[in-house]
């Protein structure tokens, strides 16, 4: 792999540069970093020097060895840099001169490394020498310029100043550029295999000790130094670099405690058995004067601790030297050259030319670009020691030359803009762009451009899949769930007649359905891929149909909102009174606003209902084809909503007429006729009294009430037809002059009875009644089903009649009973209608009483007739049986409900005639007569089960179709009746319906057990409750109102 490729690959690992690392410490440092999985770039002179250390690190792949010129390569190709170790602690001879050019080159090189560090925002560690710093602090003037023997009087630099400058430059970079730096000052390195400076006093003392010579100490031997084993130094350097909070700090990396030369010598005497006595050389002043030196804070402050003691390190060094000396037969000058330090401390004086060149920072080598590698200076090669010295010097020169060469390259890199191809320029531009991006985005720092491209493509692919598949599915599920929830809420609100809330549900539902449609549209490709185009089409059509269906309900609910507002704010203002007025109205309400809105909304309601009806079947049809999970979402709520769709027609009719019926345009009068069915009569019960209600602008503006006993003395001007009705069921003869008001009770025909009662009330009140409503005790009981309070008594449906009868104990006059019934009616009206009523509850109650025929409604006004025909269409049945009883009018008030039992067989012939064999059983207590009427022409009329004198047959002379049998009480009140009803017109040519109605007096309980036989074998029973038999059906049951039996004869 090429260096450039290796460098690009380095982004995967924490990358470190070790500058000047080709000694045992640098190698140990590199080894530690490599062992921790790092990538290491070792920069030094790149000579064969490294070869002796290669076995130590050769096994590691993530290592690059470079000479100093490699820095320019790093600047262009390096992709990652985390740590920089700049080992500048090499210090041998404090008096050694360096040229100005060398000094500048060294400083330039450090500057370039610091630049590189800044570029990658890496951590930087500079190692210098304690000894050098000690010398600087001691102000030892290495004034080579003013030595007596020095001819030239100009300033020169030394290694000391390079180290001092290095520290200063690093500190400046930290302050100005913000690099994360630290400086470590190393003690003198000891240990097996370390380079040895033969000129240093401690090494000299060791050799003297090993050779059994006296230990010569210059001066008084009180000069001190710091020592450290190189392994501890490597560990300390790593610790200083990696430990937190070391930024900007300067540490001493040495064993704690300084060691004087004298102490060193004594330690040698202890450790080396051959060592002799100590000798002080008073003439040797080569060492600097003793000054107090306070080292920087020791690295132990951050947790580092030396693991090898000074004694052991010294012993290792002595042993190492001993083994090496023994190899050369104790000839110091023949020591292995690799262990020989630079011994030549005297440099040849520079020529004038050199000095001039130095002054202008021009190196000799620069003149010839081809001479990249500095040549070793000519040295005296006589003698082994001289050769070794020359070799070492050459190495040092080579090191310096390499730095010069590197700086030259850097300078060239800065100055020259080599011609690049457009592709290279693009590559360069992309790389630069990426570096800048890296500076801003931490996550990119460990990434190559290729990796970035792959990651980008991967992210784009993920985002694309997320946007076209995942997100639409998630959003679709959300929309489906919300639409399901909205539909449930809609159904619930419709059920509770909360139209405003329902309208809001619909708005939300439509949004969610539309969103679901859009998402299905986004995912259409999935249907296409899986070959389910038809499913997609059905799904979308269902969604569309459902929206249109729901839009219908949107218009309906919007139209009904004024009705909801009216209901919520409605107050009838009824006030029950204790006097003969029974009730009055105290409020002056006006609901014209709501009525006008309702009236204006009629078309909206119509449009809505039309939309619902036209889309309902399609919704159901497409729903059936949907996938099960979507079907299960919508089906339950939709079925419930659609179940009420059949009532929309009734709703439309009611809604259309309600404003008019509520007095929107003119005042309307409603007559509530109260009947007591316990005092049973053909009309449904004795007339108790009435309430006349005046409605205007939707509000009840007046109410008046009267006990019908006040009319008992008047002779109503009855119509002929009313008189005939009375004659049909009355055992006594009646005439226009002999009838009294209570004879109206004997009219069983509902319309005639209402007309006659209305006429009497109208004459009395002086107003035209628009609609009359007959209420009996059971109706009042039903209306009080939610409970009413009357004179502190809790009354409800189950105890209403019981309360009435119990309250009248001892005062069972007609007047007292009527009075109590009227007051209870007032209580029911007040408590039912004064509060903002619950439409659903009231609607249910009214629906029950109307369907049971307990509440009967009549009007002769065209508007009301049309309304009634729409909401409660009556059907005239040809074959009708009227059954009833007339109770005694005496003072003994009855306290039970009338009951009639009808049983028998009805045979329907092919010609449409029917033979009836019936038995009747009346609850005969306190009755004065009973009757049976057929509204269709009959023949073979025969009554059995009673004596002839108890029976009379009456015809209506104006209506020959009606025939009645008036039955007087006998001992068992059981009668037999047989006759043949003549055929009537068939409804359809291809088949017709046979219908018969049994109409008992209102309020009476009819028990029936009827068997129907048909000449035709193809008959279908249309009425509910039929029990199929051979050639017929059986019906058994009870009813409080008229009961119809319908059959389809095919």
């Amino acid at each position: 792999m090429s260096t450039a490729a290796s460098l690009k690959n380095a982004v995967k690992y924490p990358t470190s540069i070790i500058v000047r690392g080709q000694d045992l410490l640098g190698i140990e440092l590199a080894k530690s970093l490599l062992e921790q999985g790092g990538f290491v770039i070792l920069i030094d002179q790149g000579s064969a020097e490294i070869e002796k250390y290669l076995p130590l690190i050769d096994a590691y792949n993530n290592l690059i060895l470079m000479d100093y010129s490699g820095l320019s390569v790093l600047q262009s190709d390096l992709r990652r840099l985390d740590y920089v170790f700049y080992l500048n602690h090499h210090f041998t001879d404090q008096s050694q001169k360096v040229s100005t050019q060398e000094f500048l080159q060294a400083s330039n090189y450090l500057d370039a490394v610091l630049d590189l560090t800044a570029k990658f925002d890496a951590k930087f560690l500079l190692s210098t020498s304690i000894k050098a710093h000690q010398s600087i602090v001691a102000s030892k003037v290495i004034d080579l310029n003013y030595e007596l023997q020095t001819a030239e009087k100009y300033s020169v630099y030394s290694e000391l100043e390079i180290q001092r400058y290095s520290e200063s430059l690093v500190r400046e970079y930290q302050e100005k550029v913000g690099i994360n730096t630290r400086i470590v000052r190393l003690g003198t390195l000891l240990g097996r295999g370390m380079e040895i400076d033969l000129d240093s006093v401690p090494i000299r003392l060791i050799i003297q000790a090993l050779q059994g010579q006296r230990l010569v100490i210059p001066g008084d031997g009180l000069e001190s130094d710091y020592y450290i084993h190189y392994l501890d130094a490597a560990y300390g350097i790593i610790k200083a670099q990696f430990a937190p909070n070391t930024k900007g700090q300067i540490y001493t990396l040495a064993n704690e405690g300084e060691v004087t030369l004298l102490g060193f010598a004594y330690k040698l005497i202890e450790l080396v058995s051959e060592a002799k006595e100590i000798y002080f050389d008073p003439d040797d002043h080569s060492l600097p004067p003793i000054k107090l030196y306070k080292p920087a804070i020791n690295l132990t402050s951050i947790g580092w601790a030396p693991r090898i003691s000074f004694e052991r390190a010294l012993s290792q060094t002595a042993d190492f030297l001993k083994s090496k000396l023994s190899e050369v037969d104790w000839k110091v000058d023949q020591l292995d050259k690799t262990l020989i330090p630079i011994a030549d401390k005297k440099e040849q004086p520079k020529s004038i030319k050199d000095k001039v060149l130095d002054f202008f920072f021009i190196s000799n080598e620069k003149d010839d670009p081809e001479r990249k590698v500095p040549q070793a200076a000519p040295v005296n090669t006589e003698g082994a020691l001289a050769r070794l010295i020359a070799e070492r010097k050459n190495q040092e020169k080579a090191r310096k030359g390499s730095i010069i060469l590197a700086n030259n390259k850097l300078r060239e890199a800065l100055q020259k803009k080599p011609e690049r191809t457009p592709l290279q320029r693009l590559d360069r531009w992309l790389n630069d762009l990426f570096y800048r991006l890296k500076q801003k985005l931490n996550v990119l720092k460990n990434m190559t451009l290729t990796d970035f491209a792959f990651w980008s493509l991967g992210i784009i692919a993920f985002v694309t899949i997320y946007l076209i598949l995942v997100a639409p599915i998630l959003r679709l599920s959300r929309s489906l769930y919300f639409s399901y929830s909205d539909l449930n809420s809609l159904q619930s609100n419709l059920e509770q007649l909360k139209y405003n809330e329902a309208n809001l549900n619909i708005t939300s539902l439509k949004v969610n359905l539309r969103d679901a449609q859009d998402r299905f549209s986004d995912l259409e490709y999935l249907f296409t891929i899986s070959g389910n185009d038809k499913s997609y089409s059905k799904l979308q059509t269902f969604m569309m149909q459902l929206q249109q269906y729901i839009t219908g309900y949107e218009n309906i609910t919007k139209a009904l909102i004024p009705l909801q507002e009216l209901s919520n704010s409605y107050n009838s203002g009824f006030v029950p009174r204790l006097d003969g007025m029974y009730m009055s109205v105290e409020l002056n309400n006006n609901y014209n606003t709501q009525l006008n809105q309702m009236y204006a909304n009629r078309s909206l309601l119509g449009v809505g209902i039309a939309a619902v009806e036209s889309n309902k079947d399609q919704v159901l049809s497409y729903l059936a084809d949907l996938p099960e999970f979507i079907k299960s979402l919508y089906e339950p709520s939709l079925n419930k909503i659609m179940a009420s769709d059949d009532n929309l027609g009734l709703l439309q009719n009611t809604f259309e007429y309600l404003p008019l019926l509520s007095g929107k345009e003119k005042a309307r009068y409603y007559l509530l006729i109260i009947q007591d069915e316990q005092r049973f009569t053909p009309s449904g019960g004795s007339l108790v009294g009435y309430y006349l209600i005046k409605m205007q602008s939707g509000a009840i503006v007046d109410i008046s009430a009267k006990d019908f006993n006040e009319f008992k003395n008047i002779s109503p001007d009855l119509s002929d037809i009313a008189l005939k009705q009375i004659s049909l069921v009355n055992k006594d003869l009646v005439s226009a002059t002999s009838v009294d008001f209570f004879d109206l009770d004997l009219i069983y025909d509902k319309e005639i009875w209402f007309k006659e009662v209305e006429e009497v009330v109208e004459l009395n009140e002086g107003v035209a009644v628009d609609m009359s409503i007959a209420l009996n005790l059971q109706t009042l009981a039903t209306l009080s089903s939610q409970g009413i309070v009357y004179k502190q008594a809790q009354i409800n449906e189950s105890n209403f009649i019981e309360y009435l009868n119990d309250s009248l104990q001892g005062k069972d006059s007609s007047e007292a009973r009527n009075d109590l019934i009227l007051r209870l009616t007032a209580a029911v009206l007040e408590q039912k209608f004064n509060q903002p009523f619950k439409q659903q509850e009231l609607g249910d109650d009214l629906s029950n009483v109307i369907s049971d025929d307990q509440l009967r409604i009549f009007s002769s006004e065209p508007l009301f007739i049309k309304f009634l025909s729409l909401v409660h269409p009556g059907k005239k049945v040809e074959d009708t049986l009227h059954l009833g009883m007339v109770s005694s009018r005496d003072e003994n008030i009855l306290t039970r409900m009338p009951e009639i039992t009808l049983a028998g067989k009805i045979t329907v012939n092919e010609d449409g005639s029917s033979d009836k064999e019936l038995s009747l059983n009346y609850d005969g207590q306190d009755i004065i007569s009973s009757y049976f009427c057929s509204a269709t022409p009959v023949k073979n009329w025969s009554v059995t089960g009673t004596e002839l004198e108890n029976y009379s047959q009456v015809f209506d002379l104006n209506d020959l179709a009606t025939i009645c049998a008036i039955l007087l009480p006998d001992d068992d009140f059981k009668y037999g009746l047989s006759y043949q009803a003549l055929p009537f017109e068939k409804a359809l040519e291809s088949g017709y319906n046979y219908e018969i109605e049994v109409d008992p007096l209102p309020g009476a309980l009819l028990n029936y057990d009827l068997e129907f036989k048909f000449a035709s074998s193809k008959v279908e029973a249309l009425s509910e409750g039929a029990i199929s038999q051979s050639n017929g059906y059986l019906y058994k049951g009870s009813s409080y109102g008229p009961i119809h039996f319908s059959f389809k004869i095919k």
């Binding site: 998630l474 599920s477 439509k510 998402r519 979308q540 569309m544 218009n555 909206l604 036209s614 399609q618």
Partner: protein
Amino acid sequence: MIKKIRNLFLLFLLLLLLGFWSPWNDWDINLLQLIGIDTQPKLATLKVKSLAGNIDIFIDEQNMGSVTADDEFAEITTISKGEHLIQLKRLTEKEGIYYELSRKLNFEPGVEVVIAYDLGPSEEFSEGHILYTAPNFNKDSAPDLNIISEPDDVAVFLDDSQIGTTPLKELELDISKQHKIRFEKQGYDTLEFILLPESQEARDKLKGLSLQLEVNLFLQPMKLIKAN
């Protein structure tokens, strides 16, 4: 490791929530349109014709202008996609004299919603039609026509051929030409008008849409004959 799992879980949760939310679905941004490749219009048009009197047009309760019986269609071309409340009020000195038309209608980009109305004193004594669209998501399919009327059971004639009585659902409509549509019911005035836009280009835009036609017929006043 736990931190990584936690971060992955949080990322997963975030993506899940983002997917449920999908706010970009509500952004009205069309990149193709931004760079000029897609030239589909973003706005819809409302065309209103008054068959009698001056009519004020309100969209979402904002007065958007008026149209007189002498004018051709009044066109409002700046209506955004979606449902809008359309109200037509006939101008009179006193409010409430005439029936006020109020409908929430759906608008599709580039497609016209047409309303032609004679607003009488009440809904029964008004006549007209509303034609609007809804997407049926079956691309490139011919539009289907749904008709509802007030009153219902109105005989519908398309190009003089009776096609049924209202309500009518999913009638396939040939968009290669305009059609004459007529509504007849005893006791009501007959209503006839031309269906579909004049240009083929405008008719082609109806592909993939469902046409909704609401018709209101004018109730003929009862004839009173003086008794001898």
